[in-house]
Symmetry: C2
Subunit: 132 residues, 2 copies
């Protein structure tokens, strides 16, 4: 199967698939004309990667997760640890974003958004409340 078909089947851009090969996440065999030939197993790996990436796992995590998937003697604790750490970092990001969201919502709410120059958003960026 050609790369464009593999792309269609996995939902990953062909460019991304090539990149995954380059960094050693998949290794499709090659036809005589040097075209990549994807097996069902390759597709399975790519789909695995796609789902892991969609859950926000880093490429490094994906590599570890695939290795664990392949290791039939794995301990599920190892998988769980990776997932839990990722979960924690997601929680951190959410907290940060929510804090930004809160501040921005307040500022946007305070700004008239008209043709006049007065702007609480800029005021806050120039000197946050309680600074003087």
């Amino acid at each position: 199967m050609n790369i464009s078909q593999a792309a269609r089947r996995t939902g990953l851009p062909a460019k991304t698939i090539r990149y995954y090969e380059e960094i050693g996440l998949v290794a499709p065999r090659r036809d005589a004309n040097a075209y990549r030939a994807f097996s069902e197993s390759d597709l399975h790996k790519l789909a695995f990667l796609g789902r892991a990436r969609a859950l926000g796992f880093s490429i490094g995590d994906c590599r570890s997760l695939m290795a664990l998937y392949d290791d039939k003697n794995r301990a599920s604790a190892d998988v769980r640890r990776i997932a839990q750490q990722h979960l924690a970092s997601i929680e951190e990001k959410i907290v940060q974003l929510q804090s930004m969201h809160e501040t921005l919502t307040r500022l946007v709410g305070a700004c008239a958004g008209d043709t006049r120059p007065d702007c609480p958003i800029l005021d806050d960026l120039a000197a946050p409340p309680g600074s003087g």
Copy 2:
């Protein structure tokens, strides 16, 4: 004032300040020895940038916001539009992260996390529920 003092006063790493100069966000004058000499106005700009970046604005947005800040004939609507677009993108990110969080929480909760290989996390990555 030297760069290290400017860094201390603004809370930005010296490297970041140099980078901001490189991309034209600040333009401290230079002493005879080529050392950057930061004025209070430079510090103010850097602090502005620091706060805007802390709210997640892109460098491009920061540039626009600073320009608006300097433009005493600005319309607050222009500022508000930038902030609102940013707010929308933050909301998008939060939604995405929350969706990841939900799935991961479920998977982590379902995984025994012991020495056995059975792992719902890997099962899900290999073939999500409802796929066959």
